[in-house]
């Protein structure tokens, strides 16, 4: 981990990784969506709408994984003062919020033909909406701390760690409370979904995850370049005119 504390070393690794993740992600995603729309059979109960699963489940996973990433990076930032940890946490926030929003929208679209309603204030949907608000709060707090110029990122990091309490609530919401949302279909004991319906989900899960990682790396590279640019401009402005 400390190996990557040096931005130059990080960039040397991040440059080829960004391209590789983007290429693999796009290929897996396009094939997974194609297979999900044309190659897998329809569900005996839900019919064709089961195909929404191939985009809904990965967006839900990335919304939750994104916040877990923010919490881990925030702990690293506070405990070890790793210089890239705060940059990584901030870089995850916007993609995490976008994927949480996509999860809510695709879930709502799936709910209309399946449950007969666009929205229900049940545990899973409400806790996912809370996650979106947490992301929005985190982004606002990070921006405010950055623009004030006197913050060391600690407040944002603490918010990132405290907000992680919502992740087990999202996971447990369909187990603890009565919900329109189905219970987890894929557990440590196996899958309740037939293999012929399940397999394209593997492609879209890996595809979306690789794209998410590529987006985070791009945002980290942009943030590092922006910091470097600001430092250069400041140094240039401070140089005495000849």
């Amino acid at each position: 981990m400390h190996f990557l504390a040096n931005p130059t070393r990080f960039l040397r690794l991040a440059r080829p990784l960004t391209q590789g993740l983007m290429t693999i992600g796009l290929a897996m995603l396009i094939y997974g969506c194609f297979a999900g729309l044309t190659q897998s059979p329809q569900d005996y109960l839900q019919g064709e709408t089961v195909r929404i699963m191939y985009v809904h489940v990965p967006t839900a996973w990335l919304g939750m994984a994104g916040w877990s990433g923010i919490a881990i990076a925030s702990i690293v930032h506070i405990v070890w003062r790793h210089p890239l940890a705060a940059i990584a946490a901030h870089a995850i926030a916007v993609p995490g919020a976008v994927f949480t929003l996509l999860c809510l929208v695709t879930g709502s679209i799936w709910g209309r033909p399946t449950w007969g309603t666009w929205w229900e204030w049940d545990g899973r949907m409400t806790s996912m909406l809370v996650l979106l608000f947490l992301y929005i709060g985190y982004i606002a707090l990070a921006n405010a701390e950055r623009s004030s110029g006197n913050g060391n990122g600690k407040t944002t990091a603490i918010f990132g760690i405290v907000g992680a309490v919502n992740i087990p609530i999202i996971h447990g919401s369909v187990i603890w409370w009565k919900s329109l949302h189905q219970a987890p279909s894929i557990t440590m004991n196996g899958s309740a979904i037939a293999a012929e319906i399940l397999w394209p989900l593997g492609f879209t899960m890996v595809g979306f995850t690789c794209l998410f990682a590529a987006i985070v790396l791009m945002r980290m590279r942009a943030a590092l370049a922006s910091t470097k640019l600001e430092a250069r401009m400041r140094r240039r402005a401070a140089e005495p005119a000849l």
């Binding site: 916007v94 976008v98 994927f99 996509l102 799936w110 209309r112 033909p113 791009m218």
Partner: protein, 41 residues
């Protein structure tokens, strides 16, 4: 509305969100790295 309208809407929204975010992040990164390069030269 048939089920396919809902499926297409879900895939459409996801594509716009994912590729929109990907394009914005890629352009922002390229703009910043280009600015650094031009300053160094």
């Amino acid at each position: 509305m048939t089920h396919w309208h809902f499926i297409m809407a879900a895939y459409g929204v996801t594509s716009v969100g994912t590729f929109g975010l990907l394009s914005v992040s890629l352009m922002s990164m390229m703009r910043m790295e280009k600015a650094i390069l031009s300053l160094e030269q």
